[in-house]
């Protein structure tokens, strides 16, 4: 800081501001912000959420978004999230009013029919789920519209045009096609839905366009397809060509027994033919998981390369392997810390409350053994559940969402950005129900 007093009035000799660097044609996206800061923010807001029995979650989500958005800095200038917790709360109320009748009455009727006609709950569950699916797609589009409408960069708003029902209809159609073709046309669905969203996305006055064609996504499916083929070959080999189990396909209980015996005796049971081949199955499944993550993110990368606006192009150097690594390692660390955290809590409880009290409470947690009314025990158990759930959310934010966002920001760039000069502000998207439907239908779990 230079507290340079200027004697001759403020503007006689204005302190020379360094000229803003000439706008380079290209632009990189930076990511600032430390993991520790995010962890504390998430922990703090998560704690408030538990204290307020969930009401604060609208504030939590807003504050976390503000943080993530401001960490992403295209050309050095942070994105800004201007969403308001109160409008989220309002949107939630609106969604409750509308959805409560649908969900309550429809579920009851479905259950009735399910038990009366089919004597089983499953039909009711499936029908109840199927009824919510279109609403789910609708809500996803609305939520995206809300989030984009509340995102700014350099003071200029992003936006998404209306079209949630159109999106839901297309999503249902493409899902049906994908299922009917046994997944062969999955890339077509990925591309078409992303194009639908991108072509309705604006930054200021500039409309984004999704270029390219859907077959280009097939190269992202390579690891998944290879894993699938490997797994299929392995299963074929072990079940029909040269069966591992001498007496045909065994029952699941028998497999469990064989594994038990293997651990007890330390020897691999002799009635198996070359059992080492069984390890191909977990390897194949891991390959499928990797393939799925890889496809999802490489598809994003390929499509980002083909997004344009007037005078603006995007490029992405996202690494599918890196993203898979983040998912695996991040989730592993999150679960590890979760277990350590819970054990620490239990230990602390043992130390502070005393062993006997905790054990007695544990034994009688549901039974009012320790003289607690049962509704209170259930309430405490509920709080504990929420606590663990939120702790997991905090860890997931810290070890999965944070590195993912960082990787995404740093690998995305705008090789051509002169078009920014042509852009001006767009109207505010007044949006009564915010992301209420998405919130109520449990879509907002990401960020």
């Amino acid at each position: 800081m230079t507290d340079s007093s200027v004697p001759k009035g403020p503007w006689a000799t204005p302190p020379k501001a360094a000229p803003a660097p000439p706008e380079p044609t290209g632009m990189q996206i930076d990511f600032v912000g430390k993991r520790g800061a995010l962890f504390w923010l998430a922990l703090k807001t998560g704690f408030f959420t538990i204290l307020t029995l969930g009401i604060y979650r609208f504030w939590m989500k807003t504050r976390l978004r503000r943080w993530y958005w401001s960490a992403m800095r295209p050309g050095g200038d942070p994105l800004e999230y201007v969403g308001d917790p109160i409008e989220k709360l309002l949107g939630f109320f609106i969604a409750v009013v509308i959805l409560t009748f649908y969900i309550g009455i429809v579920n009851l009727l479905l259950m009735f029919v399910s038990f009366s006609v089919f004597s089983a709950a499953s039909v009711g569950y499936i029908a109840s789920f199927a009824g919510v699916v279109p609403l789910w797609f609708y809500a996803r589009y609305r939520a995206r519209r809300y989030v984009l409408g509340r995102t700014r960069w350099r003071g200029v708003r992003f936006g998404l045009e209306r079209g949630a029902w159109g999106y839901a209809a297309r999503a249902l159609m493409y899902w049906a096609i994908t299922i009917l073709t046994l997944g062969l046309l999955w890339p077509r669905m990925t591309f078409a839905l992303e194009k639908y969203r991108t072509d309705r996305t604006f930054f200021g006055s500039a409309r984004l366009t999704q270029g390219g064609r859907w077959p280009m996504l097939y190269r992202a499916t390579l690891p998944f397809v290879v894993s699938l083929l490997l797994l299929a070959t392995a299963v074929l080999w072990m079940v029909w060509l040269d069966p591992v189990f001498a007496e045909g396909t065994p029952e699941p209980q028998d497999v469990a027994k064989t594994v038990d015996r293997m651990f007890e005796t330390g020897r691999i049971s002799s009635d198996l033919t070359a059992p080492a081949r069984l390890f191909l199955i977990p390897i194949g499944l891991a390959g499928l998981l990797f393939g799925a993550i890889y496809y999802r993110w490489m598809a994003k990368r390929i499509m980002a390369q083909h997004k344009t606006a007037r005078g603006i192009r995007f490029a992405s150097a996202l690494s599918g392997v890196r993203v898979s690594f983040i998912y695996v390692l991040g989730n592993f660390i999150a679960y590890l810390f979760l277990v350590i955290g819970i054990l620490t809590l239990v230990f602390l409880a043992l130390v502070t409350v005393g062993f006997d009290a905790v054990m007695a409470d544990d034994l009688g947690l549901l039974g009012g053994y320790a003289g607690l009314p049962r509704w209170l025990s259930f309430g405490l158990l509920g709080l504990l559940y929420l606590g663990v759930f939120l702790l997991w959310g905090v860890l997931h934010n810290t070890f999965v969402t944070f590195p993912l966002m960082r990787h995404m920001a740093r690998t995305t760039s705008l090789p051509q950005a002169e078009g920014l000069r042509l852009i001006s502000q767009r109207e505010r998207d007044a949006f009564a129900e915010a992301e209420g439907f998405a919130e109520a239908l449990d879509l907002g779990a990401a960020i």
Partner: protein, 364 residues
């Protein structure tokens, strides 16, 4: 006097074009003067300048004017912040009345739903479920309850099946049902849990907890509780209740939002077990129990004795632990049970001592 600030790193966006503007910054006479090109100067009163919250990264801050929703000033020289009187003041929330209106509407909608529409529908539909469907509903619900009450969360709660104890229980059920012949529609089982409780489920399932059998002074009290729960089964109270819950649980999941799932199921289980039927349903089940006990030549006073036992055991302060204590007007119900005793009648104990011992041992 005015103070100039290091403008390098500072950028200003007026809120129309996403291109940075060269600026100079001064503070003079309680306002921040932002010098743009062509000698245009913006005056931001210091007390109306706010800093954006929850920014990532320690370097730099973003400032805005309370009255201007769009313009943003990025500074890297944080010394200016010390001169802002209210950088973190939040603006009063807008549309508070609207928020309140929708909040009330949401509460009203949920109340109408859970308190009126769902019960109305459930009560009317319960009579139309065929026996097979009712049975399936009961089995599903029992499975849920056993899973929710398991200590480890891995294996569902054990059903006690000590051979002699089960035989004693079957005999008791038969004796209670003898006159009316609904024996084959009932499935009475004991769950290995110390809760002092019993409940009925759709399709003729009656479940006693081990804790209840252990808390009872004599077999008559267990018989009385069994008769009471059979009363619920006969009047199809559990079916109505389960249908109601099916309607309510979705609404509940909706309210709890992101972390629903488990919490909602937990709540549902609590509701099913504590089964707060209406006062009329309880009185009906009591009356049914009195009659059934009388027919089986077991004293109806046992029901009152069981209530009384629970009340004494837990006292009034620790209070509402057990199932029965949460039911309406307990002392009235005790009185009614005592009044149902016919002084001229000859009552027999509901079980032989050997059977009673076997029943108490059913979980071992």
């Amino acid at each position: 006097m005015s103070v100039g600030f290091n403008a390098p790193g500072a950028r200003f966006f007026e809120g129309d074009r996403p291109t940075p503007v060269e600026i100079s910054l001064h503070i003079a006479s309680d306002s921040l003067q932002i010098g743009l090109d062509e000698s245009r100067i913006l005056h931001w009163p210091l007390e109306d300048i706010r800093r954006l919250p929850d920014m990532a990264g320690k370097r730099g801050a973003v400032l805005r004017l309370a009255s201007d929703p769009l313009a943003r000033l990025y500074i890297e020289d944080l010394s200016m912040l010390a001169r802002l009187p209210h950088p973190n003041r939040t603006s009063p929330p807008k549309g508070r009345a609207r928020l309140m209106a929708w909040a009330l509407a949401a509460i009203a909608a949920v109340a109408l739903q859970i308190g009126f529409l769902v019960p109305l529908l459930a009560d009317n539909l319960a009579g139309f479920i065929p026996a097979r469907g009712e049975r399936a509903l009961g089995e599903t619900t029992l499975g849920h309850i056993r899973e929710a009450l398991s200590e480890t969360g891995l294996n569902p709660l054990e059903v006690c099946d000590g051979t002699e104890g089960a035989a004693a229980l079957a005999q008791l059920t038969e004796r209670l049902a003898a006159e009316r012949g609904f024996n084959q529609d009932l499935t009475v089982s004991v769950l290995d849990h110390e809760m002092i409780n019993a409940f009925a489920l759709p399709g003729g399932f009656v479940v006693l907890f081990r804790g209840l059998i252990e808390a009872a002074d004599d077999p008559d009290q267990v018989a009385a509780v069994l008769a009471h729960e059979i009363g619920h089964v006969i009047s199809r109270d559990p079916t109505r209740h389960a249908l109601r819950s099916a309607g309510s649980i979705g609404v509940l999941g909706l309210l709890l939002g992101d972390f629903a799932g488990g919490a909602a199921v937990l709540f549902l289980t609590e509701r099913l077990i504590s089964a707060q039927y209406s006062q009329a349903a309880e009185t009906g089940a009591d009356r049914f129990a009195h009659a059934l006990l009388k027919e089986a030549q077991i004293t109806p006073a046992a029901l009152g004795a069981m209530f009384d036992r629970l009340r004494k055991k837990h006292g009034d302060a620790a209070g509402v632990t057990a199932h029965f204590l949460t039911h309406p007007r307990l002392s009235d119900r005790i009185d009614l049970a005592r009044a149902a005793v016919d002084p001229a009648a000859l009552y027999r104990p509901s079980m032989l001592p050997g059977d009673w011992a076997a029943l108490r041992d059913i979980c071992n």
